[in-house]
Symmetry: C3
Subunit: 177 residues, 3 copies
């Protein structure tokens, strides 16, 4: 019998954090946020990788295909610098890209910093999993999730994933049963 | 002598509507809207296809290349689900993609529903034809056409198509003679 | 010893201007704007090319690779017409595309004209150079640079270029020393 517990992947992409030279703040911030948002049983599947495209692709595939995560969120590696390759890795493993996520996240972040336009963060679908790139900074992670999450449960349902029950007092999502 | 009547293609993309299991609401909604907007002589060329990329590509090519439509609007198949492939088909037959259309349509739709970011609708140019993906829901079709149509006559003129005369009391377009 | 003078490339893309049938207004408008914005020593490297993708690619590569320009701005060739190929040339020579630039420039231009959605202008990174497509019209060049330039010095720094000192009374940029 298959477990009904929802699994969510958390990927910290950072050369320094994966070498232990830097404390991972993005990963815990994403987990905290989901902990407040979700009302259903769920289980985090955390991963950490350096800014290497093949390794990011491999971890995204593992979380979607082997771990059965219906949602995978990443933090880091979306800027213009040479080592920033998270969007490239995400594009490579996805069947469809949802441009509206990146557009809305940049628009929200622009209210805070003009450098929001430097972010190449995207979201896409791999089979029945939704992958969303988030910024590195915890406050920006919060702003982006607040903006796009209202559409996330409907998205996951449309790709034949489970319905994510949420806490209405923390985040108001669209649809529901 | 070539007819000066403007021809406009209307493509309903839907598995269920093409099997007759579901009434096509999007196609008539698009035709109604254009009927109110256009002040010139024009002729609709309606088509219905299932959510199959090769069939959608074939009908888009036929409408642009054989039927001489300067504008082709589609409804349906732009979401994140596995069978949604209208944007893929549109991209495959277009020479240029105009990202501004999708961005603005999502922005307008976001005023109504947060799930607007799930729409992958795009617009593009094939030779002298403009192809625009629209949502499936009639009210969303109206919202999107109201937002982008002011730029449509100029666009068609720039790609060597006819100038579309419009009803100023219904929609205010940019440019004109 | 290498010069510390910042070099900036200015590319006017226009069939008519390059044949001398039309006065180049976009090139001087871009140079004027940068002249007001920059507080550091800088040197313009101006070029003019017809709307031919191989020639545009060649001049972009020369400005980035041989001339050492950390920033290259282009004017013209971003519309939907058959000869408009500046974004295609820019994409071809860039390692990364920064979608946020095009999104924000279109959003700003939409406040002025509804045909802003017809612009396919983009920005991207080639090694340590940032390339930005701008419109052809001087007033639109100003609107677009005002919108995106606050993020430009940070972007160039992130790709290992120099820090561009700016005039705070003309344009307020993010970051700085």
């Amino acid at each position: 019998m298959q477990s009904t517990t929802v699994r969510i992947g958390f990927v910290t992409v950072s050369d320094r954090a994966s070498r232990g030279e830097y404390q991972d703040l993005g990963g815990p911030a994403m987990q905290d946020w989901l902990g407040k948002a979700l009302a259903c049983d769920w289980e985090p599947v955390p991963r950490m990788v350096p800014d290497e495209q093949p390794q990011i692709e491999a971890v995204l595939k593992e979380l979607c295909d082997q771990q059965g995560c219906c949602l995978v969120v990443t933090t880091g590696g979306t800027g213009p610098a040479r080592r920033d390759v998270t969007p490239e890795a995400t594009t490579a493993v996805c069947d469809k890209i949802l441009d509206g996520f990146g557009e809305l996240m940049r628009l929200e972040s622009l209210k805070v910093v003009p450098t929001a336009i430097l972010s190449r963060q995207i979201a896409g679908i791999r089979n029945s999993s939704l992958i969303i790139n988030l910024p590195g900074k915890p406050s920006a992670i919060n702003d982006c999730l607040m903006a796009v999450f209202p559409a996330v449960p409907t998205c996951i349902k449309l790709i034949d994933g489970p319905w994510l029950e949420t806490n209405d007092d923390f985040i108001k999502v669209f649809g529901g049963c």
